[in-house]
Each structure stands twice: as structure tokens, then as C-alpha cells.
Symmetry: C2
Subunit: 317 residues, 2 copies
């Protein structure tokens, strides 16, 4: 269908057009660029929430419960769930998504799973583009849900207005979260499964770590909310805390700086992605494949070959 | 000191020169390129082992025990331990390294921790360069130890000749490992802490998953070795399995294909890294910063700005 019709249909909230548009941005080709350029003026209205944490912390359940609550407030919710992919099999492993069945039938909810695809990356670019589609389609809330295990996953949740890190009271979980870089990106924490033994110790440990760490903007101290998401406990408090963070950011004029920082990261990723595409086009791959033998035979180092390839790239960029 | 002297000192196994050279490759600047080019002809003799797995699986302990065993065989061992870094604080979190104290004083062992630094990446490039330094310095065995949580960590262990995935018998651990892409990169598994309850079930679950999955080269079936690394159980078997895998690869002429694949990944990363460096030099950053306001004000999409930057890059590359 002609583009302007597609864009009108997105704006009207047509689900098939939204799904198609997200497939276009997932493909990451020139149509994707064209689409985002066209819809960009219609974006900027949705509030974006990032939910991350270690595997098994209950992120999907929390996303599910938050969505139900937002729906009661009559807000439309778009969910972008990013699953780590096996580099060999390709597709996302969608086990967790199954739990979302009870919200999946709601017309005011749109759920999309996205998979990491190989090391060429571009994952956060695609997830943020998909959020733009949902934003333009009039969703009030967009939730990025992703396991906090790699840089590109962290990039995604940092593209949110409010970022929530979900932990469970396993021994050492907060230390592992700190190692994975999750502590600094949290606007607040949800300590899920807090009916488990050891929950109070985990709470105290987390609080101790928070106290010794500097946070990004000094006046905001990330809170810890205790939750049992499967029993819907702590969900109201989570929504309240999102609201409190939003108000804090607005009141202190911090949104502009945050958005600028996010735009910078996003533009960099787009530029790098486009250059890579050109670089490893058929010509680039061929010249690389021809050079491999020279490295294996020990005649040239990988750095020699890399320089040859860059020289050749200069001529065809 | 002049370069050729440094290179001679590396070849002679001088520890200070090795440490300095690894710092040079960590800096990732032009000196690093020069260094690797110079030493490349002296590399290719070390056997490279990758050890990965989820946080807390006991990778450091296994590395430690393997190292002691290799030392008994009079082999020199270099260890490159890659720690995920907090994107805010910079440095690696070196808690696990403390455990290595008992091998750290051995002159036949060289341990180096490397940290991930921000999203510009280049981590696997640096780790592999560092392995080249150790290789040129005459280390017989090089162990890459890294937590299996992101693409760049997977890239590192895939640069090894034999890749070991360490798991523990926690419920669902093998499912999480599958999600993280660890199942397909394993030449074999070490099921550590296998004196814990649930160990036999974990073993069976892992074996079931292995049977339903295709492995890269059909004739090699990854084994599962039960271990209790803290008690030195299963370590002999691990070394034997490394040897068996090495022989299998040699016997079936699979090394050449593997090395070619690895060289390809490495060259790509070098090329991309060098182009990014040029791209985000002062000129590039400035032109990006100037454009940010246009995006925030909604006048231009990030894709418009990205195209402007690429146009400008063409002129200065």
C-alpha cells in the first residue's frame, strides 16, 4: 500500500499496519529509514518505561501486571519484549511470552517480541524504531522489557524515560546486577518474589550498595519497592513510583538533557549501522573472503588486511 | 623503549614487557596496530581455551584448577579474564580474581583482567590482541575466561580452539544458557558443583537439550563432565576432553576452517573499530552535538541527522 496510507493507518491505530511497520523497522532497510522519517513528527507523546534485570527475575510478570493496571486507567500500552537469541538458531526464544496471554487479547495492548540477530547488532536501533511506531500509533505507555545481560540490552532500557531494574532475593543477585551494570541505570528497583526467605537481607544489601554508589543526578535516590508480582503485590507502588520519577524529571527540567543524550546514542547507532551495511555489502564481503588465506598462512596480520579493506572502502563509499 | 627491543623482550617472556604490551593493545590506538603487526609472525603456537557460563558458575575456580594441572605438565599458561564493567564507574569488578592468588605468584602463569568499556566496544578485538601478545611470548596455553552474557563475550570465547561452557545444577540454568546462546558454542560442558542436590536432573536435562539440538559439526557430540572444582574433581577429565577435542579437530582437518572463520570475525571487528574511531573523532562529535537540538525540537528525525553525518564523513575519510 502507498506510504502515506500506511502512515495514516498507523496514526489511526490499525493493528495490522502497526505490525507491518514494525516488521519494516526490524528489516532495517531503506524503507525502514523512510518510515521513521515520515512518522517522526507524530512521536514524542508516549511515556517510555524500561524494565530489565537478570533472567528469571519475573520481568514478564511485572510487565503483565503493570499493563493491566495501566489499562484500568484507560491508557493504551505497547510492549516491546527483547529476547536474547541463540546466534545459531536465529529466532527469539519466546517461552516467557506465553505468560502474557491474558493481556494479549486486549485491543488496547500491543505486544511485540524482538530478537537479537548476530553480532552486526542494531538491536537497540530496531527496538527504538519500533517504539516510535507505537508512539505514532497513539499508545500512551511503551514498555521495553529486556533481560539485562549485554550492552545492547542496556542501550534499550536507557532509551526509556523511566528505567526499572527487577531483582529477586537470591544471594548475590544484587552483586551480579552491579557487575552487569544494572545498578547505575535504575531509576528505581523492584525486589520481586519478596515473600521468599532472605528477602529482608537482600533488601538491606541492595540499600547498602545504593548508599555507597553515586547516582547520575544527585538529588534523585532510587527507591526499592518490594513486590510479589504473581500476587499483584507492589504493582500499585511501582506505578506510583514511575509517576513520582516522571514528576521529578519534569519539575527539575531534566527531561531535555536526558532526551538529548538518548538522541545522541540513537543517531550514533544509526550512522554506524548504515556504514556497516555499506561496508559489508557483497563487494566488501568478497574482498574480505579473498584475504582470509593470507592471514591463515601467516603472511599478513589481520591488521594489514583491515587496512586494505578500509582503503578499498574509501573508494566506494 | 624502541619497538624491536620491546618485541624481543616479549619473545623472551619478559613479564613487564608483556604487561606493557597488553596495556598498549588495550589502549587500541595506532601503537597497538603496529605492535600486533610486528608480533603476528610469532603467534599461532599457543592452544586457546575459552571458558564461559552464567555468573556464579565457578569459572574462575575451574580456570584456577586447570592452570595448576597444566603447570604440572610444565606448560606455561596465560589467562585473559574479561569482566563486565559498569558503564558508569569504568573499571572491571575484580572480586573473582582474588581467588586466583595461589596461581598468581607462579612465574609460568600470567593473569590479566580486561574490562568492557562502554558501547563503542572493541572488547573481543582487545582480548584477542592480548592473546596474540601472550602467544608471541611463548605461553603454551591461553585461557579466555568470561561470563557468558553478551555478544562480545561470546565473540571472545568463539575465538578459542576449544570452548567450554560451565553450568551449575540450578533449576533452569540450562534453559537460561540456551537463551543466552551458550549451548551452540560449547565444545563440551562442565557441570560444576555437581555434588549439589538436583545435579543428576540437571545432567539429564542438559543431555536432553543437547540431543534435540544440531551441533555445528555433526560428528562431534559435546560431552558433559561432572565436576566439583573447589575439590579438584572433574579437572583431569576436563583436560582430557580438551585434548580429545583438539585431536578430533586435527584428525578431521577442521582447524583450518575454524581459524578462517575466526580471522574473518576478527578482521571485521578491526575494520569497524578503525572506522568508528575516524567517525567519532572531534569533528564527528562536534557535528553530532550541533545537530541534537534539531531532533529534540522535532524538526528532523535521527535518520535525517544520520544521513547528514554520513555525507560529512565521506568528505573527510
Amino acid at each position: 500500500m502507498p506510504e502515506n496510507i500506511l502512515i495514516n493507518k498507523i496514526s489511526a491505530g490499525d493493528r495490522r499496519s502497526i505490525a507491518r511497520s514494525i516488521s519494516v523497522v526490524e528489516s532495517g532497510n531503506d524503507n525502514s529509514t523512510k518510515l521513521i522519517k515520515e512518522i517522526f513528527s507524530k512521536t514524542g507523546n508516549a511515556y517510555r518505561i524500561g524494565i530489565t534485570g537478570p533472567p528469571g527475575a519475573g520481568k514478564s510478570t511485572i510487565t503483565n501486571q503493570l499493563t493491566k493496571l495501566f489499562r484500568k486507567q484507560n491508557k493504551k500500552v505497547g510492549i516491546i519484549a527483547v529476547d536474547p537469541t541463540s546466534p545459531f538458531t536465529g529466532g527469539a526464544l519466546l517461552g516467557d511470552r506465553v505468560r502474557m496471554n491474558d493481556i494479549g487479547m486486549d485491543k488496547g495492548v500491543f505486544i511485540r517480541s524482538m530478537a537479537t540477530r548476530g553480532s552486526l547488532g542494531g538491536l537497540s536501533k530496531k527496538a527504538i524504531d519500533a517504539a516510535d511506531v507505537l508512539d505514532a500509533a497513539g499508545f500512551d505507555i511503551i514498555i521495553f522489557e529486556t533481560v539485562g545481560v549485554g550492552q545492547s540490552e542496556l542501550d534499550i532500557v536507557q532509551a526509556a524515560d523511566t528505567t526499572i531494574v527487577v531483582l529477586v532475593p537470591e544471594s548475590g543477585d544484587s552483586v551480579q546486577a552491579m557487575k552487569a551494570g544494572l545498578m547505575e541505570i535504575a531509576d528505581f528497583f523492584v525486589l520481586n518474589k519478596s515473600d521468599r526467605p532472605g528477602s529482608q537481607q537482600a533488601y538491606t544489601a541492595l540499600q547498602t550498595i545504593l548508599m555507597i554508589k553515586d547516582h547520575d543526578d544527585n538529588s534523585w535516590l532510587p527507591k526499592i519497592i518490594k513486590a510479589v508480582a504473581t500476587e499483584n503485590k507492589g504493582i500499585d507502588e511501582t506505578v506510583d513510583e514511575i509517576e513520582r520519577h516522571r514528576n521529578f524529571m519534569n519539575y527539575n527540567n531534566l527531561f531535555m538533557a536526558k532526551r538529548e543524550k538518548q538522541a545522541k546514542v540513537r543517531i550514533k547507532e544509526i550512522v554506524e549501522h548504515k556504514l556497516k551495511d555499506k561496508l559489508w555489502s557483497e563487494t566488501g564481503e568478497n574482498s574480505l573472503n579473498l584475504s582470509l588465506k593470507k592471514v591463515i598462512l601467516g603472511n599478513f596480520s589481520p591488521y594489514h588486511i583491515a587496512e586494505e579493506i578500509i582503503k578499498e572502502f574509501k573508494n566506494r563509499i
